[in-house]
Subunit: 613 residues, 2 copies
Amino acid sequence: MGFKKLRRILIGEPLDNEALKEEKYSLKWGLPILSSDAISSVAYAGQEILMILIPAIGVLAYRQLTILSGVIIFLLFLLMLSYRQTIDCYPNGGGAYTVAKENIGTVAGVVAGAALSVDYILTVAVSVSSGVEQITSAFLTLRPYKVPICILLVLLLMLGNLRGVRESSKIFGLPAYAFILGILFMIVMGFFKLGTGYVPPEPTLPAVVQPLTMMLMLRAFSNGCSALTGVEAVSNAVPNFKEPSQRNAKTILLLLAVIIFVLFGGTAALAYFYHVVPGEKAMLILIASEIFGQGFMFYYVTITTFIILIMAANTAYSGFPMLVSVMAKEGFMPRQLSMRGNRLSFDYGILLLSAAAMVLIVIFKAQVGSLIGLYAIGVFISFTLSQSGMFLRWVRRREGHWVHKALINGIGALATVIVVGIIAVTKFNQGAWIVVFLIPLIVLALLKIKRHYTTVRDQLRLEREECATALQKENRYRNRVIVPLESVNRASVRALRYAQTISDNVTVFSVVINKAAEEKNRERYSWLKTDIPIIIKYSPYREIVGPLLEFIRSAEYNCSENDIITVILPQFRVNKLWQRILHNNTRVYIERELLKQKNIVISTMPLQIEAER
Amino acid sequence: MGFKKLRRILIGEPLDNEALKEEKYSLKWGLPILSSDAISSVAYAGQEILMILIPAIGVLAYRQLTILSGVIIFLLFLLMLSYRQTIDCYPNGGGAYTVAKENIGTVAGVVAGAALSVDYILTVAVSVSSGVEQITSAFLTLRPYKVPICILLVLLLMLGNLRGVRESSKIFGLPAYAFILGILFMIVMGFFKLGTGYVPPEPTLPAVVQPLTMMLMLRAFSNGCSALTGVEAVSNAVPNFKEPSQRNAKTILLLLAVIIFVLFGGTAALAYFYHVVPGEKAMLILIASEIFGQGFMFYYVTITTFIILIMAANTAYSGFPMLVSVMAKEGFMPRQLSMRGNRLSFDYGILLLSAAAMVLIVIFKAQVGSLIGLYAIGVFISFTLSQSGMFLRWVRRREGHWVHKALINGIGALATVIVVGIIAVTKFNQGAWIVVFLIPLIVLALLKIKRHYTTVRDQLRLEREECATALQKENRYRNRVIVPLESVNRASVRALRYAQTISDNVTVFSVVINKAAEEKNRERYSWLKTDIPIIIKYSPYREIVGPLLEFIRSAEYNCSENDIITVILPQFRVNKLWQRILHNNTRVYIERELLKQKNIVISTMPLQIEAER
């Protein structure tokens, strides 16, 4: 009871199935929810490029930042065009898993699904860590508590999402717009300040210690690619949109690309002109403090940046549970991941995502620089598989403007596979190896689960001919009942009464510790004036399962192949949580042991116990 | 499977009930097991007296130590005499709980039981912490790892005791004798060394900073009383001894008093003559290093002291599970505490004890000086109740030499109640307040549990007159069966076949997500050529409990007061642990929800799934 009440306060009243239809994204609220992952990368993608380049090539880094940002924005538009085509073809959600599975094959789909799952988990870990990095750049006293703050935030996200979809979109919608406006204002003000003759202070930068090699550029580029995670989320969530869902999704994808272009490009330019050096403090916070000083707008940018990063983590909470529910429904994951909870959210998926993200945060001590090495490779693997799938689809079907469309997806596939290669090679030592090994392991596990479910289904399958005779009289079981009896009381009498109605072959079975107990049981049993036979066995510690099985196998009981033996056990129902641990322990144990026998059915009779006065 | 194998390796093969008789203490092996708690207090009782006195009165402390030791040894002999009388009267174990309950009343018994339970937990925490203190006094590099070492040791003790009684007595027997011989040898050598003219170095002692007040002496005395815990264990465990069990128990109690007298008195005298100053290092280790240097015997004393302290903790592992099992059998604690596990040990009691001790060790950072404040008060409360109970017994019965015997127990009760008062007052601020508040709380909880079990028993009770008519035809239920059907397969056909044998009122109930699924189900169901009606309902997420309950309550089903509805659910049985999480989740959920209805019986049919190729 205590637990249920707590859950109700934290998570809310259970919702009816009917409530699900209302819990869909409008254009206005869907944009912040689904694009925040991509938009929020403004807070770390540019910074992590600089953190690779500045220590190596000093002041030259800023020029390279603008070049790399251009390439990444180009990639973003390519992906946007590709994914708009996917949305057109997949009104029920065109995640990489579905697209790859339908157009390439099962294994490709599972690989895409595994890669995306890993990526969603990293989205939570990276975004929350980065959010906390922003806030601790402004409020330095919080710095030592980065990891616990991150854990707390993940727990809050978990609770919010267990509450359900619609409420989250309201909570998270407004601040996202606040962030976008804030950064836009910062960009405008930044250029205005420069235009009015402001000269930023020149930071002390390290000297150029190594030449600008291709390898260095590619490593910086790999870090920057973390800006592109999250595009998947939109096309995966098409059925989550209000009607017309496909058009809404496509619009949001376009808006997303435009917003990223402005914000990512704009902040990269500001970093270029203001020569900020991220490290102790985050890049965005440094820029804000250059432009606004320590005034209201500085804190405004800090807080809204923090919030959009938490929202980005929340994106994964829309994507991951949906993805695993689809895979679970098809038998690649445990079925319970496909079940909706009280509030119509996929509770198990939400819990799984939270747990995994918290493990990563603890292991990598909430450091964005460390987590970024694992990031992006998963999502680019899924991009590649998804685009390749779409390409094959156009080429196979040859419908409409298929050449034009195949070209777009083909280029997308080619570009993303190159990125996969770049990240795998340049970041292998920085954590990418974990993902490179983890994804095949996950894929193997998923395929093994699928094989198991298939085996079960095959064993259960019944052909039409078998059906016809299955329920005929000669195929029926002989039903025999055993009622374990501890003492003659309301519970055992109730069980006996039930036993009489389901069979005319009932035996009472009692275990006693000594002769005195046997006689007492026999006497009280005789009060019942019934002709149901009672069997009494000795067992010094009242152990019941062993003697019972022995009796069933004995010549005395004479059990045949065709017998099904029903054992009736009472289940006490009490009103309070603390009372629950006082009951049913024996029943659970006996049930578990007896169910190992294939010819024993356990019938559980509930028995309400009234509260004491 | 994996878990079972692991358990088998750690805990051993399950034992038959018959094995229990062999698992009893002989005199030789019972002595070390049951007396080690008292004997091992040599390692901390004297030391904790000094640690109170030395900072206050400097060198004068040693004289007071010998005086206090004398008083404590006197108390020990008083208790020994008292408890020998208890053993005579209680061949089935005369723990304070039993004695107080029988002779004073239920509440007194429960108070004694609660006090003893707390004390057993503290025995584990104090003894293990002290053991680790000894070993880290000799091996200083281990000092920073005191807490983790303690936790590890508790886990080992837990495993050892889950394995069962007899093996532990062998493992723990020999080293106890080694300890006794070692300390004896140390005492002899210590006096020999003094006799041959050795003058110990004079340590730098603090000056006398305060007068020797009564309060100070009593605080030191309270610490010293920790030497007397463990006497209870012997009389509590009478039935654990080989026959003649009472005589064996009494002999062991006598031996125990003699050994304590020699060891505790001897080491106190050595501390007096050698002027050791415990603090950084433990007293016994300091004495050993004075007498033996850093040679073989030094390490011998260290190691055997360590081991006997671990054995002392092990004493609690004999006492606590036995005590709670008795209380659980009588309804004061959850029943599962009275059930023996695979190896005939009381597994739940062992687990509970270990968990509680680990919590204490972590909270008090394994510091004996902090834990000692909580210790002893519990055991002296139970001493008092037990002696008072015995006193009342003699006075009431007036059999044999009752005046003489009542006198012994009366003096025992008086002495111990005075000690309770002393400890409560002098150590209140040092932790005794925790115990003072905890014991009443535990008592209330135990009484509440008892009241609940009594309520349940009363509600189940059936008078003889009621019995006579209970099973007559007119009192029978009408049995109706509902078979939830996901699809037509072997599992559902098996359930239907069973349903037909237990009732002629069977309904098939199916939940579908759309029209197509409904038609498919109807068609395949028709293959079965049965006249059992099928009800199909829509439910967008296959939620089954809600629609099913709605159907049962509907006019369509027309359920009457006298109906019992049996719902048949399949239980998949798979071979591997990882496969288990893939199945039965829905069944468990449905079962739990349906059992909230008092007229629904759940029949669980096992279904073996063969391993895949």
